[in-house]
Amino acid sequence: MGTLLLIALTATFINNFVVVQFLGICPFLGVSKDTKSAFGMGVAVTFIMTLTCLITYPIYTSILVPLGLEYLEIIVFIFVIASLVQMIESVLKKFSPTLYNSMGIYLPLITTNCAVLGVAELVIDVGTAEALGLASMGLLNSVAYGFFGGIGFLISIVIMSGLREKLKNAPFNKHLKGFPIAMITATFIAMAFYVFSMISL
């Protein structure tokens, strides 16, 4: 049980994908205008990150490594992620079109979301396993890492969207409206989360 808790803490806070490792910033800034679509994006990214780890980890460890085809890693991972995003797109178009419209271009951009590919590469890297004190990341641990990484993404994007909604009414220079003020908010979030990167469990 200890490792799962450890993974939960590292993936969600200490090694938070968005605010500590700075992966997946495009949707983090693009879709955080209002909390509803930010939450939708967060759930979609969490779902894809979990599924990605579930599929890419066994493919890498049981097919690519024994046959010595490590150089295919990028192609296979990206193809799996892209297929998952394509499925998510048709599901969302059917079941919640409003969320689909509010995500717009940022839905296909989940494929190039550095956080998703980042987690796929992180779970197969022997360094992460060592950091968690394991010989190698089992399937369960890597899926847990993907899930809690997604939760970390969800938390930070919802915090960001809450702040940005509050900022809509704040009086500041016209040119700072939109992305600039989002960036400056992100600066403060990054500073706040900096403390997490200091903790080493």
Partner: protein, 177 residues
């Protein structure tokens, strides 16, 4: 049924084309380890004609003591009696690693250091100036001496200095032993 056939054939043809191209190219353009060593040698001893003489057998050397600082990948003896060590230093930024070629001469002084690769260092600062500062360091100095010379020791610089330190210890064991 027809509208299924087209996507499948398109996807199959694209992935096979891409995969095939990659497989052939990765075979053709494969850079052998030996070629990488020659590149490192050319970089370190740009003028002199230095060849790779012999690969040192590392099984006899006990390096577990320095395991948390760094790991030795390989060690080679060169024609001008220098040693070339491929070592990976740990504890970099967000626990990433830095792998370097360290050239060490017969009286255990660092001749030059060349960077090979690094992992996990998303915010790797440009460390070109750093490697020159390791030249002249000797095996007798402690780990703190080596890492303190790194001005503004960012975490990734720690990993680089660890890799140099571990390489020095290895050569001293190899020569001493």
């Amino acid at each position: 049924m027809k509208q299924y056939v087209k996507p499948i054939t398109v996807m199959l043809s694209i992935i096979l084309l891409c995969g095939g191209l990659l497989a052939i190219l990765s075979d053709l353009l494969f850079v052998t380890q030996e070629e990488r060593i020659n590149r490192a040698i050319n970089k370190i001893y740009s003028g002199e004609d230095v060849k790779l003489e012999q690969t040192i057998d590392l099984s006899t050397v006990d390096m577990t003591e320095f395991n948390d600082l760094g790991v030795i990948k390989a060690c080679y003896k060169l024609s001008n009696d220098d040693y070339l060590v491929l070592s990976t230093g740990k504890k970099g930024y967000s626990n990433g690693t830095v792998t370097t070629y360290v050239a060490i001469d017969i009286n255990l002084k660092v001749r030059n250091v060349v960077e090979d690769s690094y992992t996990g260092q998303t915010l790797m600062a440009k460390l070109s100036g750093l490697y020159q500062s390791f030249i002249g360091k000797s095996a007798t100095q402690s780990q703190e001496d080596i890492s303190e010379i790194v001005t503004g020791a960012t975490k990734s610089a720690n990993a680089a200095s660890n890799s140099v330190y571990v390489a020095l210890q290895l050569v001293s064991l190899v020569i001493g032993g």
